[in-house]
Amino acid sequence: MFSETAKKNADACRFCWMCRHVCPVANSTGNEAHTPRAKGLLTSLVERGSDYTPDMAEIMYQCCLCGACSNDCVTGFEPPVFIREARTHAVVNGYVPPSVGPLTESVLENGNIYGKPASEKMSALKDVIGNLPQRADTLLFVGDAAAFRSPETALAVMGLLKKAGANYTVLPDEPSSGAEIADLLGYTEDVRQRAFGTAKALSDTGASVIVTLDPKDAEIFMQHYPKWGAAFSERVETATSCIAALVRSGKLKIRPVQNRKNVTYQDPCRLARDLNEEAPARELIRATGMNLQEMFLHGKLTKCCGGEILREYSPQTASLIAQDRLFDAKRTGASAMVTSCPGCTTSFRKCGDRSGELEVLDLFCLLDECS
């Protein structure tokens, strides 16, 4: 049932307890079945003749795919490999949990997980996009999460690019990268086929650089599209890295804020762990004059925000995860947490602190105000 790679990973993880301390879901629900080793054990039992059941499928969806377990593994095993495949089998066998069902139905109908027609994706941005050239050197890829959940972040990045005099455009009918779909369904043939369509649409713009607002999109473009043969010749750059370069070159001027605060920074999981990028966001925070107070676990050791997708089908768990991270942030003494990922921003604002003790600041919105 599972691929050789998934079997190898599951057999390694089934009797290994070493990474549970970094699993955001298991640490929040306290449920042993939500640990990476439990998912490995169940996968290995299925490979040894047990039936794959709907309740096993439900367990496989209790994961943010944040990669903390893989990052922690000193021998290089990766639970997300068999978890993604288990999700594919859940879809194939009709075992998708009821709470996840609306998301998978939306994917099939709309190509996104948000239950909205693809035609509505860029509706909050259409006025600005309408004033952009059709072809430009740089293509800003907004991504599903920002377009549907935090368009203000996209508008801020567009504002920054404009102020820097960048020659850029945004696709008015931007397709999905497939990142969210791949998390929900696994790396299925459908996801790969969508990648070819997306790669062609991006190449057809003639841009030489694709700037991605969402680290999830950057990760799938950089690390998966090439493996599938859906590569494009354009250079992919994260928005944090692009804006930091514009500030460094002097093309974008940042004025230090008047009300200087102690802030902390939430490293997005895929930006820090998968793309190895930690410095640009910190450089930008310092440019605003804010005093950066690091959380004890930061960089590659960052903790998940609850996750864009988990939040859609398991809001209570996502909320517990976000609150755990906000507790980390508060212990730094900071009065605000800066985020640089649309998923993180939405998670912390929706599920997080309601006491008003800790403000959640979107990095790009903050920079837009300071430029």
């Binding site: 290994c16 307890w17 306290g30 042993e32 054990l41 040894r48 021998t75």
Partner: protein, 474 residues
């Protein structure tokens, strides 16, 4: 509670009423997960495609008050309760061998507070131990309980089996480090031990519950002493001609200095270690140690240690190995490095006085190697005291029987032989992994008539015998 008659549903709704529907599981998938802990038998069993023992209900309380209500329900219906922390114990102590309820403690995972002035941290016991250590590290302290399962087990799990960390020689075992506890008794009463552990107010309540492996109640909060993070930690390795001179040097060192790490390997383990360090096979007994604290004191202590080791004819092997070992100390427990199926293996750690420890080492080695074909025996001593040390002795069988029932019987015969050899020569049934299901049958042999003290406590606190049946010989 087998089957799904209406009584099953009646109890289920009572449990859900306490912790909420989302914190009770009866699904097959989740029940399977709780049937496998780190115990070799359970792992081998599922590796052969057999199904593990399963609980009827899994409950996840968030507070001592919820634990109290759950235990009252369990007592009324006389349903077994097995407390589960991380499930990373090697003795099968957490396994739901009697069915009934598994009480997973991991929702009780809050930091209660850090009293920096007194150097005390208080947490709920369902917290994974590493997370408590991080809270301490964040403020420049450490609990200094650093076992290989630091990231795997919970605070309650470490207390329940009387655990130990690699720094124990300087900082003590968990039973030395714990200050006080909140415990829910089987009848649902919530009690607290005294605020500090040193007093003259009768026997130490902490020590009744530490090591009780879930048979006497559920520990829900615990406070620990904090230590300042050391200014420096310095390593040094030595090669002795044999175990005898290694034990003698270790004993001498412990009379004068407390290293944080002191590890002496037998000749079998030494051969492979030396090969890794210097690339050639060398005979002898390898010792790796660390001293830590204030640098100028550490330097003097290390000089004293070097003098002692020279006195016993040791060859100095520098500090590289120790530093590398410390950096990679948990790598040995990851897949690909650790012992795993299809091998049969076990760690039969014992502890004894200096007078007896070497005799015990040889007795155990012979009991295993002379009686069981194809079984290897390796050992090291890694936790030292002023009066003696422990032996972390392991047996390894590369090709155990294919048949799982036959494998279990052989596994138990090997364990009986090794542990009985230790006990017959003045050693103790276990040093720091606990008893659990694995050694339960040998507890009466170890304690003799003294076992009635434990049995009396058990009968008094848990008259219905619901708490973790078949474990700890109770």
């Amino acid at each position: 509670m087998d089957g799904r008659g209406f009584m099953f549903e009646m109890v289920l709704s009572e449990l859900e009423d306490v912790v909420g529907r989302e914190n009770v599981s009866i699904s097959d998938g989740e029940r399977l997960v709780y049937g496998v802990d780190y115990f070799w038998v359970g792992r081998m069993w599922v590796d052969k495609g057999r199904l593990p023992p399963k609980p009827d209900y899994i409950v996840r309380p968030a507070s001592a008050q919820e634990v109290s209500r759950l235990l009252k329900i369990a007592n009324y219906y006389k349903i077994p309760v097995q407390t589960w922390g991380g499930g990373s114990g090697s003795q099968g102590s957490a396994l739901p061998t009697a069915g009934g309820i598994v009480l997973d403690t991991k929702r009780m995972n809050k930091l209660i507070g850090i009293d920096e002035y007194s150097r005390i941290i208080t947490v709920e016991t369902g917290m994974v131990f590493q997370r408590m250590e991080w809270y301490a590290n964040e403020r420049g302290y450490s609990v200094m309980h650093i076992p290989s399962c630091l990231t795997c087990g919970t605070v309650g799990g470490a207390l329940a089996h009387r655990g130990i960390g690699i720094m124990s020689t300087k900082y003590g075992k968990i039973d030395d480090q714990c200050m006080s506890m909140e415990v829910v008794l089987p009848n649902g009463d919530i009690i607290n031990t005294l605020p500090v552990p040193k007093h003259s107010a009768g026997p130490d309540l902490n020590q009744i519950f530490i090591g009780s492996e879930g048979t006497l109640g559920v520990m829900t909060k615990a406070s620990f002493q904090l230590f300042d993070l050391p200014e420096c930690r310095k390593f040094r390795a030595f090669l002795f001609r044999d175990m005898t001179s290694g034990f003698a040097a270790g004993r001498d060192i412990m009379g004068k200095i407390k290293p944080s790490i002191l590890r002496l390997y037998d000749e079998s383990e030494t051969r492979s270690i030396i090969k890794k360090v210097v690339g050639v096979e060398q005979k002898g007994a390898f010792m790796n140690l660390a001293v830590e604290g204030i640098e100028k004191i550490v330097d003097i202590e290390m000089e004293v240690i070097r003098d002692i080791c020279r006195k016993y004819g040791a060859e100095e092997m520098g500090s590289d190995y120790g530093e590398k070992w410390y950096k990679n100390r948990i790598t040995f427990f990851y897949p690909g490095y650790t012992l795993d199926n299809p091998q049969m293996f076990g760690t039969m750690d014992t502890v004894a006085s200096y007078e007896k420890v070497e005799l015990i080492y040889w007795a155990m080695k012979h009991a295993i190697e002379d009686n069981f074909e194809g079984v290897r025996f390796i050992a090291h001593s890694s936790h030292w005291y002023g009066w003696g040390t422990m032996i972390y002795d392991r047996f390894i069988m590369d090709s155990p029987p294919e048949d799982p029932e036959e494998a279990i019987r052989l596994h138990n015969r090997i364990w009986n032989a090794g542990v009985r050899a230790a006990m017959a020569n003045g050693g103790v049934i276990n040093d720091h992994h606990g008893i659990g299901l694995k050694l339960s049958r040998l507890m009466k042999e170890q304690y003799g008539p003294a076992m009635q003290v434990f049995e009396g406590i058990k009968k008094s606190l848990d008259p219905n015998g619901i708490m973790n049946p078949y474990k700890l010989g109770l």
